[in-house]
């Protein structure tokens, strides 16, 4: 994976788009301008990473209100494809690429797809997975212990654990990880030229199409097999490919960045790290606080207004793009006091790190379980875990749909 990351960092694209305001960070924090915007005007007209005009919504209450209202704020944004310089797709290919993408459809279509998946992510179902996740975490800690110190916590722990978990759940051969991890990492890298990302999207679909064909021929006990068996008549092959592709991306890009960034945040707050390591009761609230504080999904999917609306006192015309600044909303003083401080002992439950409304993260129970197992296990196995480089040299992965780290050199 380290090689892949270096390869990813090669030459810059010809015209690197400017990083949008809501993605700019200093270390863990949104830039101070974001806090000023949130605490002052609340909503501002900005440009997206692709040069489209949009309204940036930053206050916690406004963000929740928009996310809760899928009738007026639609996920079916066709305009996102009309960005300047966007590759032209045939209507047929566009439909094929959208099929099964739960994040690209509204109710009732969204409800139809989501209901097929909810049984797979119940709290009870997640508890049944717990022993296997513990085993996967322990295996990776064993390997780290044998090979190190030092270790790259991203390559050896944060990325492979969620990746293996989602592969087993979904029915994706883990042996293929190098290629799909590289593809998804780049698919979400907004600094890359759009036609390159489109090509990666096509490659991804081709890969998933092969897995879906296999599941259709002989459905296994995994989620792909379940979808084919229980919903094969309701789902087109394109939808199956879309659902599986989304789950694979969402299942490892998100949790892995939380594990990497979260470990770094704890290393920077040793007294809080000690609590997570030593007090089992501290773990669940700590995970919520890390989700809130790190806000790794900068903004999620932009919404498109279906009619003239008003958000936070600002009039937004029909057909406008609306970006939700999740990380800034998570630190809104109206949500909680002193939000720029990490405090794992607080009640952070109101955060919007998993979104809100009908598109609230499907995999949230899985992500929470993985983190609740992985953080304390890591800290107990290596009680003297420490950064192996100065903090200033830790490479954040800035211009990316999901905030994270390129690598995290640690020792113990």
């Amino acid at each position: 994976m380290t090689e892949t990351l270096q390869e990813e960092a090669r030459e810059a694209p010809e015209t690197p788009p400017e990083m949008p305001l809501h993605m700019r960070r200093k270390g863990f924090d949104p830039v101070p301008e974001m806090a000023a915007l949130r605490d002052d005007e609340g909503v501002r007209q900005v440009e997206t990473a692709f040069g489209m005009p949009a309204f940036l919504v930053t206050r916690h209450a406004d963000v929740k209100a928009v996310l809760a209202d899928s009738a007026r704020f639609s996920n079916e944004s066709r305009r996102a494809f009309d960005a300047p310089g966007a590759p032209k797709l045939s209507a047929e290919e566009r439909d094929r690429m959208r099929a099964g993408n739960l994040l690209g459809v509204d109710p009732p279509e969204h409800t139809r797809l989501r209901r097929m998946l909810t049984p797979e992510f119940t709290v009870r179902r997640m508890r049944r997975l717990e022993p296997r996740i513990v085993e996967i975490v322990d295996d990776h800690l064993d390997q780290m212990g044998k090979a190190g110190p030092p270790s790259d916590l991203v390559a050896d722990f944060a990325l492979p654990i969620p990746s293996l978990v989602i592969c087993e759940l979904l029915g994706v051969p883990y042996a293929d990880r190098e290629s799909f991890q590289r593809r998804t990492g780049k698919l979400l890298d907004i600094s890359l030229p759009m036609d390159e990302r489109l090509e990666l999207g096509r490659e991804s679909r081709e890969y998933m199409a092969g897995l879906v064909a296999r599941a259709q021929a002989a459905p296994g006990d995994d989620m792909l097999g379940m979808l084919v068996r229980d919903h094969g008549d309701d789902l087109s092959t394109d939808e199956l490919i879309g659902i599986a592709g989304l789950l694979l991306i969402a299942g490892h890009e998100t949790t892995s960045n939380m594990l990497g960034l979260g470990a770094l945040a704890l290393l920077r707050h040793p007294e809080q790290l000690a609590l997570v390591r030593d007090d089992p009761a501290a773990v669940a609230p700590a995970v919520e606080e890390l989700l809130r504080f790190l806000g790794i999904v900068h903004s999620g999917i932009p919404r498109t207004t279906t009619r003239d609306v008003e958000v936070g006192g600002v009039a937004i015309p029909a057909g406008s793009l609306v970006i939700l600044a999740l990380a800034a909303a998570n630190r809104d003083p109206r949500l909680l006091a002193d939000g720029d401080r990490l405090d794992i002992t607080r009640d952070a439950a109101g955060h919007v790190a998993f979104g809100h409304g009908v598109h609230h993260c499907l995999g949230a129970p899985l992500a929470r379980m993985e983190m609740r197992i992985a953080f304390p296990a890591l800290l107990r196995r290596f009680p003297r875990l420490a950064l192996a480089v100065p903090f200033d040299e830790v490479e954040f992965r800035a211009f990316h749909f999901i905030y994270g780290l390129r690598s995290l050199p640690v020792t113990w």
Binding site: R115, T122, R124, G350, H360, R368
Partner: protein, 69 residues
């Protein structure tokens, strides 16, 4: 002193099966095999009232309602 009884209703058509309620107040809420909410204690015992109120606030889909008697 009469303490008002907390009652919770759930709209199973609106629920998206996020499981936040079960995580927040497992004595009051459950999920069916379909992942959709089941209210175990429609009339919430006082000792679970705080957790139940937090669950209503946390529900992403707005499927839960407090209708206190």
């Amino acid at each position: 002193m009469k303490i008002s009884q907390m009652r919770i209703t759930a709209d199973r058509d609106v629920c998206i099966g996020a499981g936040m309620c079960v995580m927040t107040a497992e004595e009051v809420f459950d999920q069916g095999d379909d992942g959709i909410v089941v209210v175990i204690e429609v009339e919430v015992p006082p000792e679970h009232a705080d957790a139940a109120a937090r669950a209503v606030a946390a529900c992403p889909s707005g499927a839960l309602r407090r209708v206190d008697a």
